[in-house]
Symmetry: D2
Subunit: 315 residues, 4 copies
């Protein structure tokens, strides 16, 4: 068990802020909760906090930062001490819209991360008040109607170093990994909860640093993923990978690119890890060559493209 609860929100950078906003609001169906400076804060209908996505205008696409919420003030202190001991800490910031003081640091690959505990619980305005009181927000069903942020997949030059940091310093549990024939680690799937994956590190084919592979947003059913593919199609969003089932973590996926160039997944399914002492699943190069669960071979760009990117996104 970890001192950290979950990835509270992610800041995504986009060089096309208006088109990106339109995508997240109309195609993914998120709600704009607030705007501040060059950022817009968006939420899924199932988010208990005010937002899960901070969309920030920038000269390049990519990850701004990822913020992890701790289980308690004590847990927060405990983890900050561990990060400082690891030499990757950058210090406290006063907080941001919707949450209190946050400790800023990077993982070994340079992705900016924050830890925080104090947060504002979402209080919906009248027109978004739900009928069921155990639901944070009304369900409007606009676009893909994503419920919340599900997981973050980042690229790294050294997967092993970063997943070890995530395990040892942040307290993530490792559930699956890819080990190439040369013994190197090509990917690692980790979680803080019973969900099979919440944070993923995959080897950066370009050997760049601090890049993002994709953000994944959750819907409750596979039918909603299929429906999202129809929406992507008719909204002119390039589909990089049509809906199918991953072999690793068994999530059901749809991948496309938001107009700013970042890869976005709509996801559901997978399995739960109730076992407190599970043996991580290790996949060999030969096993990965079989493709996804039902044999689908993902396109080349899926294994090379990340943001910021030296080349434009596939289209």
């Amino acid at each position: 068990m970890s001192d950290l609860a979950h990835i509270g929100h992610v800041e995504l950078r986009t060089p096309k802020p208006e088109a990106s906003l339109r995508f997240f609001e109309q195609v993914l169906g998120m709600e704009v909760e607030a705007s501040e400076g060059r950022s817009v804060f968006l939420r899924g209908w199932g988010d208990y906090q005010r937002y899960c996505l901070k969309l920030t205008e920038s000269d390049q696409a990519g990850l701004g930062h990822m913020a992890l919420r701790a289980w308690s003030p004590d847990a927060l202190e405990h983890r900050v001490a561990a990060i400082e001991a690891a030499g990757l800490g950058q210090g406290w910031i006063e907080g941001d819209l919707g949450h209190g003081p946050a400790y800023r640091f990077t993982d070994p690959d340079g992705h900016v991360m924050e830890l925080y505990f104090e947060t504002e619980k979402y209080d919906p305005p009248e027109h978004l008040r739900p009928s069921l009181k155990n639901q944070p927000q009304r369900y409007l069903g606009r676009g893909a109607a994503v419920k919340r942020l599900d997981h973050v997949n980042v690229l790294a030059r050294d997967v092993l170093a970063n997943r070890t940091f995530a395990q040892d310093v942040l307290g993530y549990r490792l559930h699956e990994r890819i080990e190439l024939d040369d013994g190197s680690e090509a990917g690692a799937w980790m979680s803080l909860s019973i969900a099979a994956h919440e944070l993923i590190y995959v080897a950066d084919a370009h050997r760049l640093q601090g890049r993002l592979h994709h953000l994944a947003f959750w819907v409750d059913t596979r039918e909603e993923v299929l429906r999202a593919a129809d929406l992507f199609l008719d909204h002119g969003i390039h589909i990089e990978a049509a809906p199918s089932k991953h072999a690793i973590a068994q999530g059901f996926f749809l991948y496309g690119f938001e107009p700013g160039g970042n890869r976005i997944e709509v996801t559901t399914g997978g399995y739960f890890v109730y076992d407190p002492d599970p043996e991580p699943t290790v996949w060999s190069e030969a096993e990965r060559a079989h493709g996804q669960a039902w044999g689908v071979k993902t396109v080349e760009s899926f294994h090379t493209y990340g943001t910021p990117s030296p080349e434009p996104p596939p289209s």
Copy 2:
């Protein structure tokens, strides 16, 4: 086989035109194709004609008319002759928005019906042009996003007389019916195609004439019916019958009331009748007492309420 192809559109009367329009546009997710006088013409994304619903302001809720499209000009003439012979014809009208000359008549219970052949095929404006050319309109996924009108269920004082008219004069095929212990017919499910039901007559508990039980709109999956229930809930649409599976015709259903008071179904599923000489299924009173397919007992209002109605809709 019949000379008639399908129910091309239905005119629905509403005493609350603005609220009804909002329901069909925002909750069912239909598109406004045109407006004319006190009527608005709406379409599902799968309609090959310009519209399937003509929503008309009126002092009372209920069915305006139901228009059936013939297979050909000859078939049209053929059926008009049969109707005239039956003595229920009212004569030709010049047509209406989107279709050519129509022959107006009533069924024995007094529901106004029309036959027509000439029609305008839908030509979408740029913002509704689909990605797949075998689809009439872009899929936007707004609200329940119904694809098209599926079937019409009307109440009648004498079910047997009306379904016999539909069979003998219009050419409908009977697939299922309810026969009460006293030998009377309480309901009849008929179709012009392999779909198990397109036109239904059910005994009017109030013994009134010309009333509507419900209009049913199609979605492709049961998941969309479940999703529609969430939308009804959060849009404040009273759910009369939560999603479940009918015993008769095995359709998957959700029933609610549009603001004008008319009962609306969101439906999918059921079975196809490929057999050209099927024996109709006859249900006894005792069999119907078992409820729907999985044992759900529909509420009393489902068996008594129709439009126009002497009492307000359940809420």
Copy 3:
């Protein structure tokens, strides 16, 4: 409208009868209705006739024959006359298990076909008696639990000649077709009912005659197609094409090979053609290059492999 109702059953040849039977019974979940000589007759739980598949031991895989049921004895006579006039008739046979006299003929490509009207309606044994009387058979849910045969896709050297025969002589309606840049027809999707496709002709890449591309069996939901993919995977059935949505006809598909080498599809969805005078959709080479609805490119074998086959099936 046609004199013919639907494809009543198909005879499939297999050089591996035991393994093929195991596939249809355990993986597709069909019931063995009867055995006779070197043939086993199998049914889906939704078949109103005794069977939809006659599986026959043979030295080669491929189509034995396809039998179409007429709407009536008169319709049968009418179509037999048309076939004889076309010079492709072979004469009457006495019938086969479960149906009466049949007229045997071939299409121009040489696929053996039959027309019949008299048939035995299915009368389930006690252990297969359903709870709902409008359903032919109990639903047991074994394997993919296919409901019935849905469509047949055959290869032909000359698509145009064969689909013209199907239209003019058999009464099929053409809904979609592919026209290559050289003006030749690469595929044609036709139907006798509102279903978008029931009989398909596709150009044979090997320019052989009388070959089968695939038989498609129906399930009611996309979720059942996804579930079938998991079953194929864990039963060791090679998946040629993982579940996705076709562009043409918009059916949801899963393709694999039964042990005898024939390609089998599990399918659902698509659209209905209520329009009695639809304009067929014509796809160009460039349009087809976009892949399936969500961009999936089907593997090479999908465009070349048919049965009987000069080479073994993909594995």
Copy 4:
């Protein structure tokens, strides 16, 4: 966070062992992992341990015991000390098939519970070896094909006392509860993980002790719950509550009775609680009177029947 990971297995008593076994094996689709004395041990295809259900012949239906797996040996010791301090401990037992030493105790209402840590991970025989190595067992899809045990709902005379025990002594987190107008607690939904509910206490209408309301088994999709309803129907399993969506915890449900008389749920869905300091949702009597999420009113038996039962199960 808790020292306990999850409910590892449940022992269910049945006076009709053969019929109950047939239900769990053929209708729910579980695998028999072992038999010992008067007990049969069954598993879902997603169980990482050898079994989640111990089915024991007994003179009465009801719960034998419920066994919770601790996060570690230390966590086990820690919780045992807390139970002993609470005065409800009964002492260690040597273990049972598939797991090591267990500490036996009761909750205040008298339900027998156990804590354990050491367990045998499932090692499938060849015919149950899965294709995907991150899955414990092959997916055969037999019957409802439940994946694993999901939650346990027990009746209690004093809900407050028992849920306080579960919170304070076992470390459960409270997510939802019902507070009647007289201030008493009618139900409490608790969990050890992000799943909204794993252990539920509901007031016993008969004011008996140690009774079971239901065991719930998980499937991954709502479509599988709907499919399970068809299977219940055609297997003659009485459906107490047809598939619909709960208001509390928002799970999608199907309730029926196994032949021994115990209520069984097939469930999926609901929401995840990522918030480490959530405010429990409190439902009033008036709010509960609205029925389930879409307005379904559960039948009277749902609020009164439990096992062992003074009267036979509804049928």
